[in-house]
């Protein structure tokens, strides 16, 4: 039986190269649980098995029964005063306040956990499973699989989905190994006392696309014409921020996302006479209707184009980028764009991705932002300084930047499969 590799949860279409390479080697049976990748495998006629095949009725039935049993027992246990005492803060026993929400949420989470445990056991019984590659190693979907894999001595490898910034739940590496993009990510995990042997720097496979990406001037003009931008006027690309759902620090500035956007609009408004154009690129996880961003801008007297996709195209068209600790700032540097890191004062010391010596300009209010935009657009000295710092910054965040991260990651996968043999 061919060795099987389970790819568990979302990797996204930008990582398709990994699957393509492994499949073309013809040595492995790939079990995949990512709809976008599965669709691409079909399109390219590459063989794979869907994880969904192992989620049959029996698995659902078993999981349902288990959760029902746990629910009955928990209802009783959660009422125990000694148990509730753990949930105390500043003299307030708050468990009664959250019991309903906590129980409901927990039961929903374990419905998935038990499903994946059952499906995983099925795979172990029916396939020659040698490695599990994970899209993350922190959520309730992936962790039960990691814990079961440890018990069965199946190695686990996590592929970072971004260069991490500090949040309270991303600091521990649960998988046996993690492939990170550069030394910045490695240093992040070492700071939280993770064992060095768990961390392997490969670069970001999903960013390999930037090393073959080029838009000619005529292509740029065509795109701009279609979306209503003028190639002769400066284009500012703004990335919306996204609140950390697991971090209390977001309470320092509730609705930070909108305040940050409003301050950006103010800064752009000040440059009205310079005929700058603003494009808003929404965070992929942002559920806001784009119309909300358009309406807010209208209220502030600024014209905007709001987009939810085609990041590399908009990066290529832009002259300056405004970000807030976003990995998109790194992507902007691949295309030689100046990056302004804009933090509101209340959160200025938290979740910073870049160091001050990196190729970014840090600003903390709309006045500073306006000036920084002007400098990035028209001040040759600033442009030169940022350009000079870019290479070193990119090395920190994406290692060799040679378009071969996919190759290095696939090599790591094969090494781990072999080690198991």
């Amino acid at each position: 039986m061919k060795p099987s590799i389970l790819f568990f949860l979302q990797f996204g279409p930008d990582n398709f190269g990994i699957f393509q390479r492994l499949s073309e080697k013809g040595k492995y049976n790939l079990i995949i649980y990512d709809q976008s990748i599965e669709q691409m495998m079909y399109q390219y006629g590459l063989p794979f098995e869907s994880f969904a095949y192992f989620l049959d009725e029996k698995v659902f039935e078993k999981s349902k029964k288990a959760v029902e049993k746990i629910k009955v027992q928990l209802d009783e246990a959660f009422k125990d005063p000694d148990f509730q005492r753990q949930f105390s803060y500043k003299g307030v026993n708050f468990f009664p306040l959250i019991m309903e929400e906590f129980t409901g949420k927990f039961l929903r989470l374990i419905e998935e956990e038990t499903l994946y445990i059952e499906a995983f056991q099925k795979i172990i019984g029916q396939r020659n499973l040698r490695l599990i590659v994970l899209g993350n190693d922190v959520t309730w979907q992936t962790k039960p699989v990691i814990l079961k894999a440890k018990e069965r001595k199946i190695p686990t490898l996590c592929l970072s989905h971004s260069s991490p910034v500090a949040t309270s739940m991303h600091d521990v590496i649960y998988a046996d190994k993690i492939a990170v993009y550069g030394s910045a990510a490695k240093d992040f995990y070492l700071k939280y006392n993770n064992p060095i042997e768990k961390i392997v720097i490969t670069g970001a496979p999903k960013w390999d696309k930037y090393f073959n990406f080029f838009l000619s001037q005529s292509e740029k003009e065509k795109i701009c014409w279609e979306i209503g931008l003028d190639t002769h006027k400066p284009i500012i690309l703004y990335f919306t921020t996204w609140p950390q759902t697991t971090d209390v620090s977001a309470y320092c500035e509730p609705h930070y996302t909108f305040k940050h956007y409003l301050e950006t609009l103010k800064a752009v408004k000040k440059l009205e006479k310079k005929e700058v154009q603003l494009v808003v690129k929404m965070h992929p996880g942002d559920g806001t209707s784009p119309q909300v961003y358009i309406n807010i801008a209208k209220k502030e007297g600024v014209n905007v184009i709001v987009t939810q996709q085609y990041l590399e195209y908009f990066l290529s068209l832009s002259d300056v980028v405004i970000s807030h600790g976003s990995n998109a700032g790194i992507e902007a540097m691949f295309l030689d764009k100046p990056v302004i890191e804009f933090f509101l004062p209340t959160l200025k010391d938290i979740n910073r991705l870049f160091d001050p010596q990196d190729a970014v300009i840090y600003v903390f209010n709309s006045q500073e932002l306006s000036l920084a935009i002007e400098k990035c657009l028209w001040d040759e000295k600033t442009k030169k300084e940022l350009r000079e710092r870019r290479k070193k910054t990119l090395y920190r965040f994406n290692y060799l930047c040679d378009g071969k991260a996919t190759e290095r990651f696939v090599d790591l996968v094969e090494k781990m499969v072999k080690r198991k043999e």
Binding site: I98, W140, P144, V248, S249, C252, T288
Partner: protein
């Protein structure tokens, strides 16, 4: 029965929580002078919230931006050091509650303590209440 749609933040009398489970929990006071009913609404994510007064049928539409503005006045607001303290407590609880003798055995399924994988998903439930306690909204 009135059927007009009102887009106005002044009818939100309370925003109970925000952002952490990406849900706004609102308490709305009906603007219909004959009604004045008080009712609740959950607005998921950053989408627009639409609701109807269950008593008189008055319609309401709120954008998340408007809700955010109201929250500025009514919600818990912490300093960074307060947030750090509350966060530390949230992590401490979320990484240990499942080992309590009352629940450990119940939660163990096929050798896995199901509380461990749930840490990440349950954090928003704790951060919300701990922020309110830290801000002195709950005593």
């Amino acid at each position: 029965m009135s059927k007009k749609t009102i887009t106005n933040k002044k009818f939100i009398s309370s925003v109970i929580s925000i952002l952490y489970d990406t849900t706004f929990h609102l308490v709305i006071k009906c603007s219909n002078k004959k009604c004045k009913n008080i009712f609740g609404l959950n607005v998921p994510g950053f989408v627009m919230g639409k609701t109807t007064c269950p008593h008189c049928g008055e319609n309401y539409t709120f954008t998340s931006y408007e809700i955010s503005e109201v929250y500025d006045k009514l919600g818990a607001k912490l300093t960074y050091s307060q947030a750090k303290k509350a966060n530390k407590k949230a992590v401490e609880i979320i990484k240990s509650w499942y080992n309590h003798k009352k629940v450990k055995k119940i939660l163990t399924y096929e050798g896995v303590n199901l509380g461990i994988p749930a840490e990440y998903g349950l954090m928003p439930v704790l951060t919300k209440v701990l922020a309110d306690i830290e801000a002195g909204k709950i005593k």
